[in-house]
């Protein structure tokens, strides 16, 4: 079994109008090399589901987003994403499902469990209900009879994740202390593609101490893309931290996206790494202290 793919093989599995889940959180462990490839593709009208960071901003500026299902968009160290803000303030994102970050988890978990919804009280008393007319209520069938919010399953066509290490069979390791909700993204999707800092032989996974960093099964993974520095400018703990200098440049580029696009997107992945200072630079970015 060999699931190693190149970027074009991943893109060939994505079509206009699909619902795409993106792993990571804010400016942390985002599959940015795949996101940049989508930005320069002809794909359009995507529904993006994410704990949002610069993945959302880039896809907005590249006009790929029809609908956004999200709780927030933040660059962590820089609280707000200028590209996302610009798109929102211009009314460019036609459909929104803005929900509590825990409701997002619930929607992914419902999809992962092949359930139509999961109940919660989260959302009552807020505009999350008013703005999302598709979210319905459900009454507990037990004696309490409590009325609850039925958070609908968020079923994904494709999930895109970035991990530290993978093998050709689709086994993955996330060495950072927080795997975020990557496991649920993988389970909620029909197909999952991972980019990985390094590809190793399956025999190198054999240590049980290492296997604790494996958060979801290989049969959920349909393709493995070797992409060193693939999360840059977001972090990939412990390999590298958030490239704050680059995120500042990115933030300033919301009004001059064509320049940023030429300089950092409309080039090959190797050219991108050269443009940001090479892997020696990326690997030298120290861990972000919050």
């Amino acid at each position: 079994m060999n699931k190693i793919v190149n970027i074009n093989q991943i893109l060939s599995q994505i079509t206009d109008g699909m619902t795409i889940g993106i792993g990571g959180w804010g400016a942390r462990r985002k599959p940015m090399s795949i996101i940049r490839a989508i930005c320069k593709s002809d794909l359009k009208d995507l529904t993006i589901v994410t704990y949002g960071g610069p993945d959302v901003g880039l896809l907005c500026s590249a006009k790929k987003v029809k609908k956004l299902i999200f709780g927030f968009v933040s660059l962590d160290i820089i609280p707000l994403d200028s590209h996302f803000r610009k798109a929102r303030q211009a009314g460019e994102i036609k459909e929104l499902m803005e929900i509590d970050e825990g409701m997002l988890q619930w929607g992914l978990r419902a999809a992962a469990m092949r359930l139509p919804f999961l109940p919660t009280r989260v959302g009552f008393g807020t505009d999350v209900l008013g703005k999302n007319k598709e979210i319905k209520l459900v009454k507990s069938p037990y004696d309490d009879g409590e009325e609850l919010i039925a958070m609908p399953a968020i079923n994904l066509d494709v999930s895109l994740l970035h991990v530290n290490t993978a093998d050709e069979k689709g086994n993955t390791l996330i060495y950072g202390p927080d795997p975020f909700f990557d496991d649920l993204f993988a389970r909620a999707a029909k197909q999952t593609f991972v980019s990985a800092e390094q590809i190793i032989k399956t025999s190198e996974f054999k240590k049980a101490e290492v296997a604790v960093y494996n958060h979801f099964e290989r049969n959920l993974v349909h393709g493995v893309f070797h992409s060193e520095g693939g999360a840059h400018p977001t972090s990939c703990d412990p390999n590298y931290g958030i490239d704050i200098a680059h995120l500042k440049e990115y933030s300033q580029a919301s009004d001059s996206f064509d320049d940023y696009y030429k300089k950092f997107i409309n080039i090959s992945n190797n050219e991108y790494l050269d443009a940001v200072g090479g892997m020696s630079h990326v690997n030298s970015i120290s861990k972000t202290i919050f």
Binding site: W25, G52, F70, G71, F72, V73, S74, P79, L80, F84, R85, R88, Q89, A90, G91, E98, I99, D100, E101, G102, M103, Q105, R121, V122, G123, F124, G125, T126, D127, V128, G130, K131, G176, P177, D178, P179, F180, F181, S286, K287, I289, F290
Partner: protein, 250 residues
Amino acid sequence: MSTSSTTLAELCISIAAKAWQKDGEILATGIGLIPRLAVGLSKLHFNKDLLMTDGEAFLIDQPISLGQKIPISSAEGLMTYSRVFDLLWSGHRHAMVSPTQIDKYAQMNISCIGEYQNPKVQLLGVRGFPGNSICHKNSVFIPNHTKKVFVENEVDMVSSLGFNNNTYKPNIGVVVTNLCVFDFNGNKNSLRLLSIHPGVSLDEIEENTGFEFEIFSESISEIPTKTELKLIRNILDPSGIRENIFGAKK
């Protein structure tokens, strides 16, 4: 930074730190610079039983100094986002947050300002506010007390539950601003003045608040003790980053 007289930042940190004093063994989360320092001071001085995180993924036994350049070397537990959600849904947390807008019902907004489909100002999104507000206690820190924050009408995008809901009620702790201290324990959970910061007048507070509030006390806010100041200045924020929060204004 003056080493003798107390600054506004230090005053706010000291008052805010007392928010968790009687909370026992719960997770204290301070979002933003002053709330985060307040959690640190609370942990060191007012409530040693508090759980706190490094702001990323670990529970830590001692606060991290602001501006510290090396990662933490020891943790007392793991607190991934998944576990934060699990924990907060059962109510074992008290956060301090800084909404962009707050109204007379204690509804808060961090999502966007203006028309929803085409907002004038896009902010963060509702983030965890809906869940936090229905599940656990929240205190508030407002660094720029104006009518833009304490809005006359309801907030533009209701991100957190307020007292106007018929079924659920929020649990609001203290509301610390750059001018004064409030809570929401007035008649029918109205905003209530508890103390006024040194050098601030009641008129100034009224002029900068978009709705009426009760006056429980016009006493002057309690300034930090020498011990508290020492912890803030020497341990929690030795490089004085806290003073940037109010800019040149105060």
